[in-house]
Amino acid sequence: MSKTAIIIGGGVAGMETAGQLNRLGIEVVLIEKQASLGGHLKNWDRLFPDRRESQEVFDYLEKGMNDGISLYLNATISDIREAGGKFTVILEDGRELSSDALVLATGYDLFDARKKEEYGFGIYDNVITSAELEEFFRNNKQKNLFEGVQSKRVGIVHCVGSRDEKVGNLYCSKLCCVTGVKQAIEIRELMPDAEIFCFYMDLRMFDRHFEEMYYEAQEKWGIRFIRGRLSEAAENPDHTILVKVEDTLTGLPLKMKVDLLILLVGFVPSPETKRLAGMLGLKEGDDRFLCPSDEHLLPNSTDHPGVFLAGTLKGPASIAATIVDARAAALQVAEYLVNGER
């Protein structure tokens, strides 16, 4: 008799885990609360560092969604029960699904920039988030961001909602830096005479090709970098934004007018993850992301036998890293189902 795994969450991690498990001959049920698969990936335009279209990655993931996978869209889980090593997932509409293993791939939420009130998101006209900019890129490929605006200066603010005890997030979201540099280049491509500034604390260009992208941003695109965290923003009468930072490299406070301020919002744990983790009694870290049973050796297992984790519900990760993690999770699940090892 073939074994079944239920995967909760149809984003990058969920789709890849489902596809891999299915290829390993395991019956897969994929539950997604939204109407379509893809999660955040569907909102991104191009991916760092090579700026390939996000659609290409989605197309690959979608190819893995064959008949062997039972898909439940618009499905919210109301309860999870467990008996004799079998899981029963009860949906809000009363349907019951059962399986031998459970994979949580519920991902993350973006930080709500409104919480950094002093940055004026939602209040000032020309303050947007990096996610909104991606949406703009995805939908308005050739359009100018500043129709009707005379001078063109853009400020990109790093670490919005990350490394910030005041909003309860001590951790680094680690991908905002490279996103900021990518978006700076993309803005420059749309508007060759724009002046673009990144306000950063450290540039954490940790992964392959990231540093090179930073270099290119400086050398080829003339993006300017000012080391200093945005302290506050104010709106000028002409709707431009006055930003105030300490230019920590000169040791002087600095103010500057920008026409558009982009906030690089970080990762936060999603409430849905918290809710499901509560049902299953899973461990939450200080950062409120979920913890595997062993971060080095069992990065996809939990202390709860048969329950596995995949993707960004464990913390910020790039799409590339998420796919690797999802494959590791699939292998872990398969091993469990075949050998009973977690």
């Binding site: 409104r114 009130e117 002093e118 004026g120 998101f121 939602g122 209040i123 000032y124 006209d125 506050e232 104010a234 709106e235 000028n236 009468p237 709707h239 006055l242």
Partner: protein, 360 residues
Amino acid sequence: MKIEGKKQIWNDYQKEIAEDHFFYVRSCIRQNFFPGSEKSFLRIMKEELKKDVYENPSHTTCSGIGYHTDIVPFETSMTMVARQFALMTEAGYENFTTSCITSFGLYSEVLNTWEHEPEMEEKAREFLYKATGREFKKPKNVSHASDVIYRFRKEIAEKGKYRLVNKLTGEPIRVVEHIGCHYSKMFPSKGVGGAEYPYVLIGMIEDWGGEVIDYPERRHCCGFGFRQYLVQANRGFSVSCSKKKFDSMEPYQPEMILTNCPGCPMFLDRWQYAISEMEGKTYGPDGTGIPVLTYEELAGLVLGHDPWDLGLQVHQVPVEPLLDKIGISYDPEKKFKAADGSDIGRPEAPVYLKFYPEQA
């Protein structure tokens, strides 16, 4: 500016403000700076709004000035705060309202500390009892007097004789508001509208007919900062802070500055004189400066109180142009006369700032 965004924040930061029966504590310095303000508050509350406001003559400083200049230790401060609460408890009141912003900040800080560290509250009770034999209950509601005026702003508007509108043009008076730092910067949830976009004064201005002007340095400190001002050599820092604000608001052509703190109106008013004398720079039209009012003075004006009863003659920046604009009637002859008709003297005419009508 997206007003919906601000409204969302104002909705998020609403605080409870008592309806009646206030135990009122005064500010140490306001009675010298703008002596009409606290009197105006009591008059409005008692006579116009018919509220019960009680003052105990034996209440003291909250010690906030000493605390913020690192002279008075926290333990002493919280014991003095406890004594104020004891006076309130003894008088049978539960709603505590303060005239001073720093006091409001200190009361909030002490209560918050007691909440997180109950052993500190025990200590305060012990110290107070040992020193005075008094005991206290914590107030049910703590508000700043500007919160209270904010709460009754609509009633004041209804009873009001004037609106903040230019009599000739029909345009609303352009007002910049300045909130005292200790009002909500320490505890955003304790202020109406939070720390970044406080609503307490904006609510008054809007309901009384004026237009609020936001400007880039709105959040900047007026420069009072106890340590800056108390040492004479540091006053340059204080005046520089105020100047930064004036320079930032100047292009918006504000007709008036509204404040809710003891120090801010003092410095925003007097420094305009100092800057004009030191650098020849004035900020209002034709060298008149930008009038600075406290919310009690403004409420009094709206209700039709006599400007000289409100103590507006002690302002360094002349208020007459503003009064004329709104159409508030006043007797220029009485400006420098005491209540009994005697002469209270006149300040020397500034060189650049136009203080006397004949200078204009």
